[in-house]
C-alpha cells in the first residue's frame, strides 16, 4: 500500500495536470466553435444574425454583434471567456448588470442568462440519475457476472448473458419508450414522471426515477456483467485461487476476497469513465424521460447553437471525467495492493 505522503503527492500532481488539461480542452472547444466557422468564411455579422429574431434590422444585428463581442479578435474573446471562469463576470441585462459567479462559462446567446447558474440547477437531476443508475448497474452487473462465471454453461449463465447481449444492443430511446409506454401509460405504476428533488420529497424522488434508473442501468449492467464474468473466469483459474482453496479458506472468501477483488480492477477503471461521462449528462435518458439535467441542457444548447452553453457543458464533462479518473486511480490502491504511486 502507498503511504499517505505518496498519495497526497500523487493527488496534487494529478490536480495540476487536470488544470492544464482543462485549459487545453477549453481552447480546443473554443476553437471548434469560434475559429473554424471563421476559417470557413463566416463573419461576425452572420454569426450575430443567428441570435436575433426573424427579419432583423441591420442595426439590431450590429447591436448583438457588439453585445456578444463577436467583432473582437478571437484571442480577446477567449481571454474574456477564461477570465470569467476564474473570476466571474458581469453582464449587461438591461437596466441592471447580472453577475455570473465563477466558474462563469459565459452568457447564453439564446435566453440572455449566465450559463453557470443554469447548469448548476441541472446538476442535481443528472447526479440523481447517474449515481442511482450506477449503484444499480454496479451491484447488479457484477453480481450477475460473478454468478454467471461460477455457474458457467448453466441455464442461468446462458439466460443472463443473452439478456446482457440485448441490454448492450438496445438503445435507451427504445427501451426507455417501451418502459414509459408499459409502466407509465398502459399500467400507470409510475405515472406522470417529473423530477422531484430529494430534499423536497424522497419518496417521489425515488419513485419518479425508478424507470430512468432501470433503463440506464439495464444498458450498463449488461456490459459490466459480461466484463465481470470474463474477469472472474480468468481469475478463478489462477494458481493462487487453488492455493487459497487448498489452505481451507471458505469458498465465499475465496470468491470475494481473492477472485472478485482481482477481477475488479478493469471494472473500476471503466466505472470511473462511465460515471464521469454520465455526470456530464445522460443525454438519451434525460431526453427520453424529459429529465431537466445536463443532458437535456446539452440537447437544447446544440439545437439553438448556443455556443457558451455548449462550451460550459464540454468543460464540465471534461472536469467530471478527469476527477472520476483521479478517484479511480486512488481506488486502485485499495483494490490492488501491488499499486504504487
Amino acid at each position: 500500500m502507498p503511504t499517505l505522503y505518496q498519495m497526497i503527492r500523487f493527488i496534487i500532481r494529478r490536480l495540476i495536470i487536470t488544470v492544464f488539461l482543462l485549459i487545453v480542452v477549453s481552447m480546443i472547444t473554443f476553437a471548434i466553435f469560434f475559429l473554424i466557422p471563421r476559417l470557413a468564411g463566416q463573419n461576425s455579422y452572420q454569426l450575430a444574425s443567428q441570435y436575433v429574431g426573424r427579419n432583423p434590422t441591420p442595426a439590431a444585428i450590429h447591436a448583438i454583434e457588439q453585445k456578444l463581442g463577436f467583432n473582437e479578435p478571437l484571442a480577446v474573446q477567449y481571454g474574456r471567456f477564461a477570465k470569467g471562469i476564474v473570476l466571474g463576470a458581469h453582464y449587461n441585462a438591461g437596466p441592471d448588470k447580472t453577475y455570473c459567479p465563477p466558474p462563469c462559462f459565459g452568457y447564453s446567446f439564446r435566453n440572455q442568462q449566465p450559463v453557470w447558474p443554469m447548469m448548476l440547477s441541472d446538476i442535481p437531476v443528472t447526479a440523481s440519475l447517474a449515481f442511482g443508475a450506477a449503484c444499480l448497474w454496479l451491484v447488479g452487473g457484477t453480481a450477475i457476472g460473478v454468478l454467471s462465471a461460477l455457474r458457467r454453461g448453466s441455464v442461468f449463465d446462458r439466460a443472463a448473458m443473452g439478456i446482457a447481449l440485448a441490454g448492450v444492443s438496445l438503445p435507451i430511446f427504445f427501451t426507455g419508450l417501451i418502459a414509459l409506454e408499459l409502466f407509465s401509460f398502459r399500467w400507470p405504476i409510475f405515472p406522470d414522471l417529473q423530477f422531484v428533488p430529494l430534499t423536497e420529497n424522497p419518496y417521489l424522488w425515488a419513485r419518479n426515477l425508478v424507470l430512468p434508473w432501470t433503463t440506464l442501468a439495464f444498458l450498463y449492467a449488461a456490459l459490466y456483467a459480461r466484463l465481470t464474468r470474463a474477469g472472474m473466469l480468468e481469475t478463478m483459474g489462477e494458481d493462487y485461487i487453488r492455493t487459497a482453496r487448498a489452505k481451507g479458506l471458505p469458498e465465499r472468501n475465496v470468491i470475494v476476497k481473492h477472485g472478485l477483488r482481482a477481477a475488479l480492477t478493469p471494472i473500476v477503471t471503466i466505472f470511473g469513465l462511465d460515471l464521469g461521462l454520465l455526470l456530464g449528462g445522460a443525454v438519451l435518458t434525460e431526453f427520453t424521460f424529459s429529465l431537466h439535467g445536463l443532458g437535456l441542457f446539452t440537447v437544447l444548447a446544440i439545437q439553438n447553437s448556443d455556443l457558451p452553453q455548449i462550451l460550459g457543458v464540454v468543460m464540465l464533462t471534461a472536469f467530471f471525467v478527469v476527477i472520476a479518473n483521479l478517484i479511480v486511480d486512488i481506488l486502485y490502491a485499495v483494490v490492488d495492493p501491488r499499486v504504487r504511486y
Binding site: V52, M118, F289, S305
Partner: protein
C-alpha cells in the same frame, strides 16, 4: 364598449370587410354529443363556465422568451395573452371570426390622420397591473421603447424601428433622457392617449399594435433580460413562479377586470406549463390525461398520429387545424438559367404536388395542395391556379417541356436545391422535387444545411446562393398578421432582400409587386387594400419565384377534460385564453 364617433375610413372598412366575412353569425358551440373530429375548427367544444382546476400545458421545447416584448413564437403570442394585454388583439372565436382585429387595451381602433402619418389610440381607463397600479399610456410607450433595445431583447419583431420616425432611438437602457422616455415618435399627451408618428403611411398599423410588444411594462419593474422571469400582468393570470427552461406557473390575477375584456376567460385556478418534455411523451400525456394542451400547437407526432386517426374514440377528439403556414420551394430569379422566367415556370409545372404533400404528412396531418402564395386563412386570399397544381397535381411534364424550350433549355438543365437537413419532412419534399423535376430533364442536386444557420449563413445569404447555384430552396412561412402585407412582404418585396437572414430567397425585385405594396400601405380603405393582395399574389405566381406546396395543417389532440376548446385561426392552434377545466 364605446365606439368613438370619429372612426377613420380604414378602421370602418376593415371592420366591415372582416366582420361581414367572418362574423355573420353567432359563435357556434358543440354540445358533448357533437364532439367530433374537426369540431374544434368551427365550433367551441365542451362549452362551460365552470371555474376551478388546473390546466397543464406541455411543451417539447422552450419559449424564446416569456417577455411579451421579446418573443416571436406563435404559441408564445397566444400564451402571452394570458398575462398581457396589447392595444389591439384578435377576437376570441372559432373559424374566420378569429381573424377579426378588435380593441384590447384600446377603447377603439386607431384614429389615423389625413396624411396617414399619425395614429392615435385611447386606452380604457380602468385597466390595472397585477399590483393594483393603473396602466397608463406611458407604460405602453415604455414597452415600445424596449423593442429598440435589440442588444438586450433581441427576439421580437422590429416593426416599430422600421415604421416610426425615430428609427435611431437606442432603446431605454441607453436613453440619456430623464425618465428614459426619449422616443420622440411616440407621444403620450395624457394617461389614456398615445400617438404614434410614422415615417410614411402604413395602413396596417392596427395590426402592428396588436403585437405583444404593446403589452404595457411598468418602468420601475423592468429588469431587462430578466423581466421574462416575471412579466407584470395585465391579463387574467399572473406569474407565480418560473424556473427557466423547466416550468412556469400562472395563477389568477385578481386585478384583472373581465368587464373590460371580452376576449379572455379566467376559468382555471392555475396554469402549469412544463417545458422540454419529450414530444412523444406529450402525446401520451394528452391521451392519458396527464397533460391538457400541447403548448407548441404544431400537432401530434407520427406515432400518436397513427394511433389517433385509427381509433374512433381518439379521432373524435382531434382537429386537423389550419396552421397558417405555407410550405413551399423558392425558385431563385438570379441563378442561371432560372433567371429566365420560362425556366422557373418549367419547375412550377414539373413539380409533383401530391408527392410534396405526402412528404409533409399527407392531406390530414400535412395539409392541402397549394396553388397560391397566400393561404386561405389570410385576408386577401383568392383561389387561382396558374400551373395546374390542383388540376394536374402529379405534375404536367408536357407543359414543363414547352417552358424549357421557351427558356432555351429544351434538354433541361442542372441546378442545386437547399433544404434543412435536420427536418425530415423538408428532406422528403426535396427528394420528391428532385424525382419529379428529373422527369422533365431538370437535374437537381440536393444540398442539406442545418436549420439554425439556414437563413443566416446559407439559403438566406444571396452571395452564397449565387456562388453555390442554389436555384431552389425549401421554405416555410406564416404571417405576423393575417393580411397580404403580413404574409407577402418579407417573401416577395424588393426592399426585403437582405445580405444575410434574407427571406425573399427568390430575390424577386419586381416593379409591379413593389408598386402594389407601396399602393397598399397607403390605402386606408381596407376593402380597397384587400383587393391589392390577390394582385400581388398573382403577379408573384406569374413570375414563378415560389412553388407553393402545402397549406399546412396540424393534427391537434383535444383533451376531453378541457372546456371551451376551439382552434383560433390567427394562431393556428387552440385559443389558450379561452380554456377551462371540467
Amino acid at each position: 364598449m364605446n365606439r368613438r364617433s370619429i372612426i377613420p375610413l380604414a378602421a370602418a372598412g376593415a371592420v366591415a370587410a372582416l366582420g361581414l366575412a367572418a362574423c355573420g353569425s353567432a359563435v357556434k358551440t358543440a354540445t358533448p354529443s357533437q364532439v367530433a373530429y374537426n369540431a374544434g375548427n368551427t365550433s367551441v367544444v365542451n362549452p362551460s363556465a365552470h371555474k376551478g382546476g388546473t390546466i397543464t400545458f406541455n411543451n417539447s421545447s422552450v419559449p424564446d422568451s416569456t417577455d411579451p416584448g421579446n418573443t416571436y413564437y406563435a404559441h408564445m403570442w397566444n400564451m402571452a395573452r394570458l398575462y398581457g394585454r396589447s392595444l389591439m388583439t384578435f377576437k376570441s372565436c372559432p373559424g374566420k371570426c378569429g381573424l377579426q382585429l378588435v380593441p384590447d387595451l384600446a377603447s377603439a381602433r386607431g384614429q389615423v390622420s389625413a396624411d396617414g402619418l399619425t395614429w392615435t389610440y385611447h386606452i380604457k381607463p380602468n385597466i390595472r397591473f397585477e399590483d393594483g397600479t393603473k396602466v397608463t399610456t406611458t407604460d405602453i410607450k415604455y414597452a415600445v421603447e424596449r423593442t429598440y433595445a435589440k442588444d438586450v431583447l433581441p427576439n421580437g419583431p422590429s416593426y416599430f424601428a422600421l415604421l416610426l420616425t425615430d428609427s435611431k432611438y437606442p432603446g431605454p437602457y441607453k436613453d440619456k433622457t430623464p425618465g428614459k422616455l426619449g422616443l420622440k415618435s411616440v407621444d403620450t399627451p395624457n394617461a389614456t392617449t398615445i400617438v404614434f408618428h410614422l415615417q410614411k403611411p402604413f395602413a396596417d398599423f392596427d395590426y402592428v399594435v396588436s403585437l405583444p410588444q404593446t403589452v404595457p411594462v411598468p418602468q420601475a419593474k423592468d429588469k431587462g433580460a430578466n423581466y421574462q422571469l416575471h412579466p407584470v400582468s395585465t391579463g387574467p393570470y399572473k406569474f407565480q413562479n418560473y424556473t427557466l427552461d423547466k416550468q412556469f406557473t400562472l395563477v389568477r390575477n385578481t386585478e384583472w377586470d373581465p368587464a373590460t375584456d371580452r376576449n379572455r376567460k379566467q376559468l382555471a385556478d392555475k396554469i402549469v406549463v412544463n417545458l422540454n418534455v419529450n414530444a412523444d411523451t406529450i402525446d401520451n400525456n394528452l391521451i392519458h390525461n396527464f397533460a391538457h394542451i400541447d403548448m407548441a400547437g404544431t400537432g401530434v407526432q407520427a406515432a400518436a398520429r397513427a394511433q389517433v386517426l385509427s381509433s374512433a374514440s381518439l379521432r373524435k377528439n382531434a382537429d386537423a387545424a389550419p396552421s397558417g403556414f405555407l410550405w413551399f420551394t423558392y425558385i431563385n430569379s438570379k441563378v442561371k438559367p432560372l433567371d429566365n422566367v420560362h425556366c422557373r415556370r418549367a419547375v412550377e409545372y414539373a413539380a409533383d404536388k401530391v408527392a410534396y404533400q405526402t412528404a409533409y404528412g399527407g392531406p390530414i396531418a400535412g395539409g392541402s395542395i397549394a396553388s397560391t402564395v397566400l393561404p386561405p386563412n389570410i385576408v386577401g386570399h383568392q383561389k387561382f391556379d396558374l400551373y395546374g397544381a390542383t388540376t394536374k397535381p402529379h405534375g404536367d411534364v408536357a407543359k414543363a417541356e414547352q417552358e424549357l424550350a421557351a427558356c432555351g433549355q429544351p434538354n433541361g438543365f442542372a441546378t442545386n436545391m437547399a433544404f434543412r437537413s435536420d427536418r425530415p419532412k423538408e428532406k422528403a419534399a426535396s427528394t420528391a422535387m428532385q424525382q419529379a423535376l428529373s422527369e422533365a430533364g431538370i437535374k437537381v442536386t440536393l444540398q442539406g444545411y442545418t436549420s439554425g444557420k439556414y437563413f443566416t449563413n446559407f439559403a438566406g445569404v444571396p452571395t452564397f446562393v449565387h456562388q453555390h447555384d442554389l436555384g431552389l430552396s425549401i421554405g416555410g412561412w406564416a404571417a405576423d398578421w393575417p393580411d397580404g402585407y403580413g404574409f407577402l412582404y418579407y417573401l416577395t418585396a424588393g426592399d426585403a432582400i437582405a445580405p444575410a437572414g434574407n427571406t425573399n430567397i427568390g430575390e424577386l425585385d419586381d416593379p409591379k409587386v413593389n408598386n402594389l405594396f407601396a399602393k397598399a400601405v397607403a390605402t386606408t380603405d381596407a376593402g380597397a387594400r384587400n383587393q391589392i393582395w390577390p394582385q400581388i399574389d398573382r403577379q408573384v405566381m406569374s413570375q414563378a419565384v415560389i412553388m407553393p406546396g402545402v397549406y399546412a395543417k396540424s393534427l391537434l389532440y383535444r383533451n376531453p377534460n378541457v372546456t371551451n376548446v376551439f382552434v383560433h385561426l390567427y394562431y393556428g392552434m387552440y385559443d389558450y385564453a379561452a380554456l377551462g377545466r371540467k
